[in-house]
């Protein structure tokens, strides 16, 4: 483990560097190392391997500390509506294309909703994902109010009895109050038109995000109540350690990870694999 034969100050320095460069943040790293130091002091740990294991267990406890099921659970009847939110460029639209693929492979009927009526070519981008999956995309030709697109979409979803509805929203910074209000309205309209919708509010977080991820999660949660997280771009070199803090704070499960730009590049989140990768 990091080539060290014994627990000493240098080992702790190396661990500090490992945890911080994995984006776990200063406060959490400090807490983890203090926890480890106490165990060493109480003679509960005496070699680097067991210290490593103790750290992994502690981090795992932050991540799986949620009360809901880790898997997406389909409702008894009616469309299962997933609203996808997050800041600009994190991979919302692409993730919807991937989730659609997963459900189509599982034999479900899927519908996409082009709720980003703002950004250049956002609707076209989602339509291409719809074509790739062979699924219907509800979109408006004009720059309609996203709430009105979603309103119509809920009616269509009910009428055509789709199993899964994926609603794309425009990227927005969590600090833009008016845009966060817009998101609340989209959610309200969904719920009024189709009872229980959205059944899942999925926050997409980019694995390269630093400590700002905590602020993002906090404000999106306050605005619309996040029920699941997808961590994207884990095929890069970033470790995505920020989610350890987010999950700990919000007790929200990480549903999926994005590991590439193709339709198949989505995996169910595996906490053990994730933590192993943190320590690589």
């Amino acid at each position: 483990f990091l080539g060290r034969k014994e627990i000493d100050a240098e080992l702790f320095d190396d661990l500090e560097e490992l945890l911080i460069t994995a984006d776990l943040g200063v406060t959490t790293t400090r807490e983890l190392l203090d926890h480890a130091r106490r165990k060493v002091h109480r003679k509960e740990l005496s070699d680097p391997e067991s210290l490593k294991l103790a750290l992994k267990d502690k981090i795992k406890s932050f991540i799986i500390d949620y009360q809901r099921d880790a898997e997406l659970v389909m409702p008894e009847s009616g469309p299962f509506v997933i609203m996808v939110v997050g800041v600009n460029g994190v991979g919302k639209t692409t993730t919807i294309g991937k989730i659609a693929h997963k459900f189509v492979k599982a034999g479900r009927s899927v519908m996409l909703v082009a709720g980003d009526t703002f950004r250049a070519a956002a609707v076209s981008q989602l339509q291409i994902w719809g074509e790739r999956n062979g699924v219907h995309v509800v979109a408006r030709a004009d720059r309609a109010d996203p709430s009105s697109v979603v309103y119509d979409a809920m009616d269509i979803a009910k009428a055509k009895n789709y199993d899964v509805v994926l609603v794309d929203t425009a990227g927005r910074l969590h600090t833009q109050t008016n845009l966060m209000e817009e998101l609340k309205k989209i959610k309200r309209v969904m719920g009024k038109r189709l009872e229980g919708a959205p059944h899942e509010v999925m926050l997409v977080i980019d694995a390269t995000t630093g400590q700002n991820g905590i602020s993002q999660a906090k404000l999106f949660h306050e605005a619309v109540g996040i029920t699941g997280i997808t961590l994207t771009k884990l095929d890069g070199t970033a470790k995505g350690g920020i989610v350890a803090n987010i999950c700990r704070e919000m007790k929200t499960p990480i549903r999926f990870i994005g590991v590439g730009e193709k339709m198949e590049d989505l995996r169910d989140f595996d906490p053990d694999e994730f933590i192993e990768a943190l320590f690589e």
């Binding site: 560097e17 911080i20 460069t21 994995a22 984006d23 943040g25 200063v26 406060t27 800041v87 600009n88 460029g89 994190v90 991979g91 703002f118 950004r119 250049a120 070519a121 076209s124 981008q125 339509q127 291409i128 994902w129 910074l173 969590h174 600090t175 980019d206 694995a207 390269t208 995000t209 630093g210 400590q211 700002n212 991820g213 602020s215 993002q216 771009k233 095929d235 890069g236 070199t237 970033a238 920020i242 730009e261």
Partner: protein, 292 residues
């Protein structure tokens, strides 16, 4: 915040007219913590603090400042110097047409920034030409076309069945024919560890005379900023950096990480989604933000 924490540090140590090696140690630990909380890379923060410590030892505490404020002043000055040392504008006077290639990770803001640059250059009286060279992302070419239409800036009619390097060659021919003086090439987002896609950028660099290669990075990037910037700079010899989404609440430590590891000037910051939201980089504002 850092000022309060430093006041706390110096309250515990007594009577200071000069910053000494002893009284500065604990203060510098607080500074390092603040930098890490701001997403400055682990090694960059350590080196920066070591450098500033040397500068601070032996300095007199100004009459009007508390020791904590004096330390912040020195740290702030040093940050500004590091961030902005060689601030540079776009190189517009060299060989014409000026050719700018945008490069960076997926979703960092390259396409939007290409549009913003075109808007800025058009306002300066230049004749920009937007070149969509992203043949992979669904509707990427359309995205740049929509921006061009909005601005009244011509966009090269790229298609997804042409190799990016050929798109660029063809665009240079078109630019010469139509007398466009600034060519802005938007490339696909890619991972720095994807060797075949990094080669694609090197191919463009060899095929076209590039005046600028702008590395576009998201202001909220964490520790990974160093690894990514280092690789892009190593493979392409970037000439400048653009930090996007800076109007949010990210502390922006990635700015210091990227600047220290590449040595290349941060030329612009993206301050919004609108095509007018591009500003010249202000080192002092970013320094204050990083220090919190």
């Amino acid at each position: 915040n850092l000022t309060d924490r430093l006041e706390g540090v110096f309250r515990r140590l007594r009577g200071h007219g000069t910053l000494t090696e002893d009284n500065i140690q604990e203060a510098m630990r607080e500074v390092r913590m603040a930098l890490l909380e701001a997403d400055v890379h682990f090694k960059v923060a350590r080196d920066f603090v070591a450098g500033v410590t040397e500068k601070a030892i032996g300095r007199e505490v100004a009459k009007s400042l508390s020791p904590g404020q004096q330390v912040i002043k020195i740290v702030h000055e040093e940050l500004v110097a590091l961030l902005g040392g060689n601030t540079e504008q776009l190189r517009l006077d060299g060989r014409q047409p000026v050719t700018i290639m945008m490069a960076g990770l997926q979703g960092s803001g390259k396409t939007t920034t290409s549009g913003k640059l075109a808007a800025m250059l058009k306002n300066k009286g230049r004749r920009p030409y937007l070149v969509p060279a992203d043949i992979y992302r669904p509707a990427a070419i359309e995205q740049l076309q929509v921006l061009g239409d909005k601005l009244g800036v011509p966009v090269h009619p790229s298609t997804t069945d042409t190799r990016p390097v050929d798109i660029c060659r063809q665009a240079m021919v078109a630019a010469a024919e139509k007398n466009y003086d600034t060519v802005i090439i938007d490339t696909a987002g890619r991972l720095h560890i994807d060797e075949s896609l990094m080669s694609e950028l090197k191919d463009i660099q060899e095929a076209v005379q590039l005046s600028e290669i702008l590395f576009v990075a998201d202001a909220m990037t964490g520790q990974d900023a160093v690894t990514v910037a280092e690789k892009f700079n190593h493979d392409l010899a970037i000439t400048g950096v653009v930090l996007t989404k800076m109007e949010g609440d990210a502390r922006g430590g990635a700015a210091l990480s990227i600047k220290s590891v590449t040595g290349k000037p941060i030329k612009f910051v993206g301050m919004g989604e609108g095509l007018d939201a591009l500003e010249v980089f202000h080192p002092d504002r970013t320094a204050s933000r990083i220090l919190g």
